[in-house]
Amino acid sequence: MTRHEERDVVIVGGGPAGLAAARRLAAAGLRVTVLDEQPELGGQYFRRPAPEVARVWGEHRPEGRRLVEAVRAAGVECRTGHLVWGVDDDGRTLLVSDPAEHPVRLRGRYVIVATGAYERPFPFPGWQLPGVTTPGFAQHLAAADHTPIGERVLLAGSGPFLLPVACSLLALGVNVAGIAEAGHPYRPGLRALGAVRHPARLRELAGYAARLARARVPLWQDTVVVRADGGERVTSVTLAATAAPTRAVRTVAVDALCVGYGFRPQSDLARMLGCAVRTDPATGDATPVLTASGRSTRDDVYVIGEAAGIGGAPIAAARGLTAALDILAREGHDVPAAELRRPARAGRRLERFKKLTDALYPAPAELARLLPATLPDAATLCRCEAVTAGEVRRVARTTAGDVNATKAWTRAGMGPCQGRECGFAVSAVARTSPDVFPSRLPVRPVPVTTLLEMARTEATRTEVAPTEATRAGAARPEAARPEPVGPEPAGEGEAA
């Protein structure tokens, strides 16, 4: 049976941004539901360790647990294990699959997209080998599961995130074989510049750098991975200068390689909701067009946190709060002017810091011009469909720069990841524009049984399930009541 439910606000994503927004909105009496596909709230930043891991080895970022507790105490309906995989034809109803893979249709008078970010890989020969992962996976294994990703591990890519991951591995006793950074950010001059205004954040980075230096972890700057070799698991990594990525300079024996070039906004749901996006020239990423409050080009849809543009957890939380206050003001709630100004001011300060750190590392758009062009023809470009760079190049010569035609001919980007891992690299190899695949339904693979169940109940449905969020104690102002859910036109929303 498909359940149909309506809320004041539906928030997709229970990370720092989504939780900050949810807590404030629920505290004001709105009926708020947070959906997250992970088994626990917290998002990637506040990924909750298994209770047994926390008990024995201590808790990673306990402030995340406290935030989740506050959100629950505020009366937010928290639905974990719920996958939002699409948007119905009305452009408003979210198509959701619950933990038992039953379909749920959920509508909010406001929708807040807080879908976060994912890591940016650049393909290289062998990136599909087992044992080659994102740095984020190594970090989750270390922080949430107390499991070392390998015994001898190389970190590569670009950005500040490589440093804390290396430190987490050291703490587990892992031999960190080295860090290959595509840029040359670690110069005292630039760091000193940053320390003038943002001592705390840079001290944090400097602290990681000091620990790595004490452990004599080699740091190779202006260096990229050009290939990984191995059979059933990676055994060695070959490095080259960023400026000359075809000439190998060093080969390192490893049993795991973690490569990531920072983070990209996860904007597919926002795009599916019809929010306009523009390509950020520095990153090449599709970024939603937003007001200062996070309101998208759709009046009832907000995009917050990393999905709105990469900035880190503190910026994400400030954006979440700003969006919540904007909604409350629109709903006629009394929001003190000082409270309105605070997150906006914090956000601006953090954005300045972000610009500073961004300037330390090479712009992803620059790397996208440099690296995919030198990818050998035989290298796997699209992991899911096992399409090589050579196939994409050959087809791109006849498709006149149309990324979708290239995709249709080669199947690159048509697999279950929907081009999230390879999309921008396919565009770079094919030298096409626009540089992102359009967002397609479903944004995640959905079991056929879920779709069938939904289709079966579409024709006969009349019931509207009572909302589980109507809990005792949470007084709802009449002004904030949703309009009643009327019967929707027959035949809509069938699974494609």
Partner: protein, 95 residues
Amino acid sequence: MSAKAPATPSTVTFEVNGRPVNAVKGVSLAAALVGDRVWTFRRNPVSDEPRGPFCGMGICLECEVTVDGRPGVRACLTPVRPGMRVETAGTEERP
């Protein structure tokens, strides 16, 4: 943050391709497998190459395994449970 354990964690036993494996209670299935040095979670349906977990957050779908007969389960999002029967495409006989 300490590498040495001040207490002994309780463990669970589950099955990987019929073989019993121990893991710390409640960790992700991906961690339980990696902790047991299992890295080939599946084979790519096009190229038949071995594949293992990549993103660790549910978007790449490279960590899909079969759990209690249900295929396509993302190991990185699934907590390990006692008695869970996990099949990977890495070591079992392939058609």
